[in-house]
């Protein structure tokens, strides 16, 4: 075959072939004999749980890391991708889950920085505008990145890739930061790209999205290919079985209690953010009662971090009244004082905040459980008690690790999350506040954690869950509210709302919201 010579033949030529890709890290085999084939114009899903080896595989294709063994063919030619610049010159583009944009620069400057050479800015601005209108990705090149919503930032990343005319676009968990409505727009763009012959590798663990968007799918589990399928011919259930090797576990969720005592009350919480690009909180009102789970939905960066820090006490308030915990005016209390009156808190960042990376799990138990579990006596640490508590937590929450002496950083994200959830839940809190409780946790463990939260509620605890995963909130919550641009919507019982309604609310437009809607992610306003 001579693909370079005949355009017609190049259509039948797979754009990318991987054969027997194997990647060995010092401690783990991340990829083990992976075969993959992507045709031009195909949207190909790579499906798998966290730790299945998806990201490693994409890093190999994009030249971030190199395979230990195995072959890669690009348009029929064997190729070794040296680095991302080499990948881009071949025609491979990648949009990462975590954006790499400079907040203080404009869209135009950010794009220019990623291009080789020294592009003419005026010309580049015109190209950005033409690409963005062509693919339905409105972005104003003159705006500063810090003023953009997360959805808009993703557009900048995509436009930046498209400017280099990629023939293969890798999208890593692109919808995790988008509202349901923004997901629709993204899918339209991807379909248009594919119809023009661009191949797309779409990495996700969201089965319904893959079913809707992708032409074909390769399923990974434990670094190996466990199956290939045509998503439209499958059900989410059958794909889940391929992905986790068993049926999707479901939570037992009965109705919550509606008349418990108020354990958390936000009474007009307003707070400026210490971060210049943060979100100020504006007059938040909320009640969380004993025996119920209240969820707060919203696209990240809309004030969740500030709200959580105000509740946990990591950023103390200037007044005591706006945050009330178990009947105490707690606004000016420190995190450990709030813990003593019954609050337990699971932060979004596990490593470095929820746990000290270099310390053993038993030492990390002391971090928050010192008082509740009596791990300190006369100012001295009772290491035996700490170790016993850590072991119990490891066992009860099925944490895969090298025992209580293992360093926190040696655990996978999901296992560390299980450990931290366990550490907080086992202190039998009166009020549990959890941020992204199952983010990055595999499906089986996520169901387990959700069940633990529900059990805790059944035991009379008040629970507040802040999450970007609507599915999760709809699975476990009794009532739900939305945070957008630092404002909090009223709560709705779950039965009286739907994913679509909440999706609209996530743009700041709920009944009774102030007239100026809060920076909706789909607006393409110019700042002129």
């Amino acid at each position: 075959m001579k693909p370079e010579h005949a355009a017609a033949a190049s259509d039948a030529q797979p754009r990318l072939i991987l054969q027997g890709i194997r990647k060995v890290y010092p401690a783990v085999v991340a990829n083990d004999g992976i075969d993959l084939r992507v045709m031009p114009g195909e949207i190909h899903a790579v499906l798998g749980e966290n730790g299945a080896g998806k990201s490693t595989l994409m890093k190999i294709i994009y030249g971030v890391t190199r395979q230990t063994s195995g072959e890669m063919f690009w348009e029929g030619q064997p190729v070794t991708v040296e680095n991302p610049a080499h990948a881009r010159s071949l025609g491979i583009g990648m949009v990462f889950q975590h954006f790499s944009l400079f907040e203080t620069l404009t869209v135009l400057e950010n794009v220019a920085l990623a291009l080789p050479g020294n592009p003419d800015l005026a010309d580049l601005a015109r190209r950005i505008e033409s690409v963005s209108t062509r693919y339905g990705l409105p972005v104003d090149p003159r705006r500063h990145v810090h003023a953009l919503s997360v959805g808009e930032r993703q557009r900048v990343e995509i436009v930046r890739c498209l400017l280099q005319n990629p023939r293969l676009l890798i999208m890593d968990e692109p919808t995790s930061v988008l509202t349901p409505q923004a997901v629709r727009v993204l899918f339209e763009t991807l379909r248009r790209l594919a119809s023009e012959g661009c191949a797309i590798l779409y990495i996700s663990h969201k089965l319904d999205e893959i079913q809707e968007l992708c032409h074909s799918a390769t399923v990974l589990r434990g670094g190996k290919v466990t199956g290939a399928c045509i998503p439209s011919a499958e059900t989410p259930k059958s794909m889940a079985r391929l992905m986790i090797g068993k049926d999707l576990p479901a939570c037992v969720h009965t109705a919550g209690q509606a008349d418990g005592e108020v354990r958390l009350k936000l009474a007009g919480l307003s707070q400026a953010s210490p971060d210049p690009f943060g979100t100020a909180l504006k007059d938040l009102q909320l009640e969380v009662r004993s025996g119920e789970i209240v969820g707060i939905a919203g696209v990240s960066g809309n004030g969740q971090a500030e709200l959580l820090a105000a509740i946990s006490g990591e950023i103390p308030l200037s007044e005591a009244g706006p945050v009330q915990i178990c009947g105490n005016q707690a606004g000016r209390l420190s995190p450990d004082q709030r813990r003593q009156i019954g609050l337990c808190f699971v932060p979004e960042e596990r490593l470095g905040r929820g746990a000290v990376p270099s310390m053993a799990l038993s030492d990390n138990a002391i971090l928050t459980a010192a008082a509740a579990k009596g791990l300190v006596k006369h100012g001295l640490i009772d290491f035996r008690a700490a170790k016993a508590f850590a072991s119990e937590c490891i066992e009860r929450f099925n944490v895969k690790c090298g025992g209580p002496a293992a360093q926190a950083r040696s655990l996978s994200g999901g296992n560390l999350q299980k450990y931290i959830m366990g550490r907080e839940i086992m202190q039998a809190p009166k009020l549990l506040v959890a941020a992204q409780p199952t983010w990055g946790v595999d499906v089986g463990a996520a169901a387990f954690i959700r069940q633990q939260i529900i059990d805790l509620r059944n035991a009379g605890c008040a629970v507040l869950v802040v999450s970007e995963e609507l599915d999760e909130l709809f699975e476990i919550c009794d009532r739900i509210a939305v945070i957008a641009d630092g404002r909090l919507s009223p709560t709705r019982p779950l039965a009286e709302t739907s994913v679509e309604d909440i999706g609209v609310w996530m743009s700041g437009m709920w009944p009774g919201a102030e007239s100026a809607p809060a920076a909706p992610s789909d607006q393409s306003t110019s700042d002129l």
Binding site: Q337, T368, L380, I381
Partner: protein
């Protein structure tokens, strides 16, 4: 083609963290041999004079321990702060203030005899050092002023203060106008441990502080909090450990220990206050703390090593007519090589064979 690449280790190497000070010591000795030859001296003779002569006799060993006392005292105090990322660089000044305060107590209680004099001097010394360390702690917690700069600059203020004292109000009237205080009374001098040497009770005090430091760092809740603050500031905030309290405690621990060392110096080998009271112990102790891996056991050995460099430098002046700065050169080499080998705690060197690519 062979090329070398520094590669991050998946986990910090424990072995390397203990090996690194030993490598630094060996490299310092090798560097010393080169230095001696470059200066036209016989390197082997130099090595003998510098590293072996000081330990030739029991008296030499006792002098070594005597020199090590202030180093281990100061280094333990500093290590407590350093573990919490509190960078007290001004132990030299806190040492001077401790010496001044202890001298003040000694002069005040000139006519009193009995152990209460020494006790008062110990308390005064500790408080003097603590007061000097409280200044950067206050400025850091109140105005977020960098404690490295403030504590360092206060060293020079302390030096001027001690000069003023011994040239002015505290100058010994019978001292032929030398800048020094009166000699202390016997009650204000630390009792000797071994007859015929200058090794005194301060050595026992230093060992006691090492033990207390060890228990504090490895067993106490406060020590745990400080370790968390040093290793993950966000986790400390999440747990509710007050960052301000950590700064205060870290600075004061260093100040108290340096003040005690200053007291031990005037009540020990010097027996009076002079303007040369601090001969670089406060700065050398920073190196001691790091060579000792911020661990009291390590600090014990590192302070002996540093004391040897001090004594070796004196020997080299006497017998090889090398300049006094030779000690400082060795201290510098030790720190330099330590920092260099510490890189390999978190990184490793990988040899890689790269193929020359055509048209690359």
């Amino acid at each position: 083609m062979l090329s070398f690449k520094l590669e991050a280790r998946p986990e910090a190497s424990r072995t390397m963290s203990y090996l690194s000070p030993l490598i630094a010591v060996v490299l310092t000795m090798l560097g010393g041999l080169l230095l001696f030859s470059a200066l036209g001296k016989d390197p082997l003779e130099g090595f003998q004079v510098f590293f072996l002569n000081p330990m030739r006799s029991w008296y030499g060993v006792s002098e070594l321990l005597l020199k090590a006392v202030p180093l281990m005292l100061i280094a333990v105090g500093l290590a407590i702060g350093f573990r919490a990322n509190v960078w007290n660089i001004g132990a030299e000044g806190q040492f001077i203030l401790g010496a001044c305060a202890a001298t003040g107590a000694a002069l005040l209680l000139e006519d009193v005899s009995g152990p209460q004099v020494l006790l008062a001097m110990i308390v005064a010394g500790a408080l003097g050092g603590a007061a000097w360390a409280a200044i950067p702690a206050f400025l850091r917690t109140r105005f977020n002023a960098n404690e490295i700069l403030v504590s360092l600059m206060l060293v020079y203020v302390a030096q001027l203060l001690v000069s003023w004292l011994v040239f002015g109000p505290w100058m010994d009237p019978d001292g032929f106008n030398f800048p020094q205080s009166k000699m202390f009374s016997d009650s204000a001098l630390l009792p000797m441990l071994v007859e015929g040497t200058r090794l005194n009770l301060a050595f026992v005090m230093a060992l006691g502080v090492l033990v207390v430091g060890y228990v504090f760092m490895h067993r106490s809740y406060l020590g745990f909090k400080m370790r968390v603050a040093g290793e993950a500031a966000d986790a400390a905030r999440y747990a509710g450990f007050s960052a301000k309290r950590m700064v205060w405690f870290g600075m004061l621990a260093g100040g108290v220990c340096a003040g005690l060392a200053g007291m031990a110096e005037v009540a020990g080998p010097m027996g009076q206050l002079t303007d040369k009271v601090a001969s670089g112990y406060g700065f050398a102790a920073i190196i001691v703390a790091f060579v000792g891996r911020l661990n009291p056991i390590g600090i014990f050995f590192a302070s002996l090593l540093m004391a040897l460099l001090f004594l070796g430098g004196e020997q080299a002046q006497l017998y090889m007519s090398l300049p006094a700065s030779i000690s400082k050169v060795f201290q510098g080499m030790l720190l330099f090589f330590l920092l260099g080998s510490d890189l390999f705690i978190n990184y490793r060197l990988r040899m890689r064979r790269t193929l020359a690519k055509a048209g690359a």
